[in-house]
């Protein structure tokens, strides 16, 4: 290659570089307003905590005891609670639907505790949550799970299929939620950003409600109005008023699968049927269609299936101190914190549970 060729080559490369630079420079300049707007949006969404990765949310929540989070579209909190479990690695894990929400960390002191409630409704979903939570080698010493009679009704899994979803929301979905809120009431959201030091997640920022560091919701449970509870929306066929002739074999098989998995991870299972109030109890006891209820409540069934499976079961369905006091329930499904604290005290005082948690922290 001659000096001239080299000069021509360098000139060509130089002119190409100039063309690239012009292209990129003009595009950046042209789209700078849009890029700035996007940067601003991303900044707001991050400050709100809506686009923060859940592992970071968990670390943030560890920073102070009063920090709450609730973001996403409310469809599923599995990804969030898995992130918290991965972070905290609690000795005692509560698992179940919204009914599990009432348990607090203080109820299980001195053991480390996390409430993974509102993430799983069926035995299959319980198992799946544990599979995901334990895939890094961690395993809780004990899982306190809701064991309600209706979980053994045929077709129950189908009823709640899809509620438990471990996929985290995408960045774009979270960003669009913030965009939507900015579109509807920008000043309100911007005013609330000050509270984002303590509150993360758009829902939590707007309502003040979310999950505390121990996984329990901080929402003050609605005080039970007897009049309201008289018409509490309980529908026959839906929990807690599920009618079926008997316990379904396929649901027992699901339960057995859950138990077997827990055993394989050396996790002690503590099943709890929380209290119901009189309207529900009388309805179930008095109905000829509630064979499943009677079968579940029978000593034989509990002995054959629960005790034999090594599940420590606490059946608080008919707790006399709450049976006729609907003020301890926010609705027919959910006893309040006071009930949960009482139930937790009884659980942790039980010698079988003490034995299981003897060296847990």
């Amino acid at each position: 290659m001659t000096a001239t060729d080299e000069t021509v080559g360098q000139a060509a490369a130089s002119s190409q570089f100039r063309e690239w630079r012009r292209l990129v420079g003009v595009l950046l300049l042209l789209f700078s307003p849009l890029l700035l707007a996007i940067a601003l949006l991303e900044g707001i969404a991050w400050r709100v905590g809506e686009t923060m990765p859940l592992a970071m949310v968990s670390s943030w929540q560890d920073g102070a005891p009063d920090r709450i989070w609730r973001g996403g579209d409310g469809h599923s909190f599995v990804a969030y609670k898995l992130a918290r479990v991965a972070d905290l690695k609690p000795a005692v894990l509560a698992l179940g639907p919204g009914r599990a929400n009432a348990f607090r960390g203080t109820d299980f002191a001195p053991y480390s505790f996390y409430n993974a409630g509102q993430t799983a409704w069926t035995f299959g979903q319980y198992r799946h949550f544990l599979e995901l939570a334990t895939n890094d080698g961690y395993a809780p010493r004990a899982v306190v799970f809701n064991l309600d009679y209706w979980m053994l009704a045929a077709g129950f899994d189908h009823y709640v299929a899809g509620r438990s979803d471990e996929k985290a929301e995408t960045h774009i979905a979270n960003l669009m939620r913030v965009v939507g809120q900015l579109g509807s009431d920008p000043l309100d959201l911007l005013r609330r950003l000050r509270a984002a030091d303590r509150v993360h997640g758009l829902y939590a920022l707007l309502t003040g409600e979310g999950f505390a560091a121990d996984g329990s919701p901080n929402a003050k449970q609605a005080s039970a109005d007897p009049q309201r509870l008289a018409d509490d929306g309980t529908a026959a066929g839906l929990p807690p008023a599920v009618f079926a002739d008997r316990i379904a074999d396929e649901q027992v098989a699901e339960f057995d699968g859950f138990v077997a998995f827990a055993k394989s991870k050396k996790i002690a299972l503590i099943g709890v049927q929380l209290p119901f109030y009189a309207k529900i109890l009388d309805g179930l006891n008095g109905s000829s269609d509630a064979g499943i209820w009677r079968e579940f409540e029978s000593a034989d069934w509990q002995k054959q299936h629960l005790a034999a499976a090594g599940v420590i079961f606490f059946d608080f369905a008919n707790m006399q101190e709450y049976r006729d006091k609907p003020e301890y329930f926010s609705d027919s499904l959910d006893p309040d914190q006071r009930v949960a604290a009482n139930v937790a005290r009884r659980i942790t005082a039980d010698p079988r549970v003490r034995a299981v948690l003897s060296d847990a922290k």
Partner: protein
């Protein structure tokens, strides 16, 4: 992955950068060919074999014809190659229809065949190449990679424009240097295409889908409005897609023919088809109409009419396998012939009435649009019977009653509010239609975005792209590209 997906733009950005990092010639050819095949495999998986088959037949057929002197063997070779190239189109697209028409039941495997995306487009491109070689208009391409790229070129493979070998193949030397100006030109086309497709077409698709999905329930006025919306939806969708394809090619230094030229300003059906999906209509004109016209030139008007009707019917059948597409094409043929033979009488009538030329132009454009939109119903409906529901209602007194009720309530609050969910629920979409019409009028008169000042560019690009971004992010399921089934 359609051309209007964010994933495609990311893919294209990578191809664009790599293209200009590579030295010209074979390396760029290999890059584009690999990118094209990768793009198509991602779309249709194993059905890529059909694309490769068509490209191979075009190459082998073209090479064979190039070597043969004129004569019977060359003729037979040409017919054989033509049939071989058209075979996948017949099998994948028309076999079911032909079997139904002949009351033959196909075996399950044949009945379940999916239509490879873009089959009609790349088959016609390859067929045109073969015909040009046979007629001696084009030398057969010796380099299989170049011919392969001609058939598979990723911006064009799924929905055209249907290019000609003579236009595209010479550009595959692929030696252009990176030019920011050319890149800007290409980006401008891509930007306009994205806005048309994502903002205009996807928005206008919603109301028309409601009515075409359940034509029995819709009132006549809602049917009329849905018909109009669909015509603009299809225009924005397809023109937008074509612009993205042309823009991508331009950024790679390849000029592709335009596909639309403000068709809704056309003064008659013949002009309409010279401005709508031009690559297809010119293909049909050059490879079907002109040869038939030449063959029947001694038959005078009858020959002309027959050539027109046959060409338009084939054009209709290209769009789909079903009787409604046969009628679709034939109807346009009838309209085109009627337009040609009545033009002088209509001109005389307007002159006698003293109608100003500007008004005549508007009247003609509106009538042409409505004729197109009416026939287009056949393209959109799922069943021929649904088209009848449309036509029955649009040409009924009930339509006038709907209009009367609507106007009466809107202006004077007479009677009850008529239940016209499309008319009342999507009134804002008329602004989009207005924007398309104004944009076309400006473009026809030479006022384009390219000629606007910097501040107008900045405003247009930022607002337009913000709208596109917003719609991308908020749509979890995008409406399908309407021409994908071809």
């Amino acid at each position: 992955m359609s051309l209007s997906d964010p994933a495609f733009l990311g893919f294209f950005a990578v191809v664009f950068v790599l293209f200009y990092l590579l030295p010209g010639g074979t390396s760029r050819l290999v890059l584009l060919l690999s990118a094209s095949l990768g793009f198509y495999v991602k779309l249709v998986g194993g059905y890529t074999a059909v694309l490769l088959y068509v490209a191979a037949v075009a190459y082998v057929g073209g090479s064979a014809l190039q070597r043969m002197a004129a004569g019977r063997s060359r003729g037979v070779t040409f017919i054989a190659a033509l049939l071989a190239i058209l075979a996948p189109l017949v099998v994948f697209k028309y076999l079911g229809f032909l079997a139904d028409a002949a009351h033959i039941e196909l075996p399950g495997s044949l009945a379940d065949l999916a239509l490879p995306v873009g089959l009609s487009f790349f088959t016609f491109a390859a067929t045109g190449y073969l015909i040009d070689v046979n007629l001696g208009l084009l030398e057969a391409e010796r380099n299989p990679l170049r011919l392969g790229l001609f058939v598979t070129f990723f911006p064009l493979v799924t929905a055209g424009p249907i290019e000609r070998g003579g236009r595209l193949l010479p550009q595959f030397d692929l030696n252009p240097r990176m030019s920011a100006d050319r890149a800007f030109d290409g980006l401008r086309l891509i930007f306009i295409g994205l806005v048309l497709k994502v903002l205009f077409a996807d928005t206008l698709a919603v109301p028309s889908a409601e009515v075409f999905g359940d034509p029995e329930s819709a009132l006549p006025l809602d049917k009329l409005v849905a018909m109009i919306f669909f015509a603009f939806d299809l225009y924005a969708d397809f023109a937008g897609y074509s612009l993205i394809a042309i823009g991508c090619a331009k950024m790679l230094g390849i000029d592709v023919q335009p596909n639309f030229r403000q068709p809704f300003l056309s003064q008659g059906i013949p002009e309409f088809w010279r401005t709508w999906h031009m690559s297809l209509s010119f293909w049909v004109r050059d490879y079907l109409f002109m040869p038939l016209r030449a063959k029947w030139r001694r038959s005078g008007h009858r020959g002309m009419i027959a050539a027109t009707l046959i060409s338009f019917t084939i054009l209709g059948i290209w769009h789909g396998a079903g009787w409604q597409f046969v009628i679709y094409g034939f109807a346009f043929g009838v309209l085109a012939v009627s337009s040609l033979y009545t033009l002088k009488y209509r001109d005389a009538a307007y002159a006698r009435l003293g109608v100003p030329q500007a008004v005549v132009r508007v009247i003609r454009a509106v009538i042409t649009f409505f004729l197109f939109a009416l026939v287009l119903v056949l393209f959109r409906v799922n069943y021929l019977g649904d088209a009848w529901l449309f036509y029955r209602d649009i040409f009924s007194l009930d339509l006038l009653r709907n209009i009367w009720d609507g106007v009466g309530y809107a202006l004077f609050r007479l009677g009850d509010a008529p239940e016209l969910p499309i008319v009342t629920g999507y009134w804002a979409d008329w602004f989009l239609i207005g924007a398309i019409v104004v944009g076309d009028i400006l473009a026809r008169n030479g006022v384009t975005l390219a000629k606007c000042g910097r501040s107008m560019h900045a405003v247009a690009y930022n607002l337009g792209f913000a709208a596109v971004l917003y719609l991308w992010m908020s749509s979890s399921v995008a409406p399908p590209f309407l021409y994908y089934k071809f």
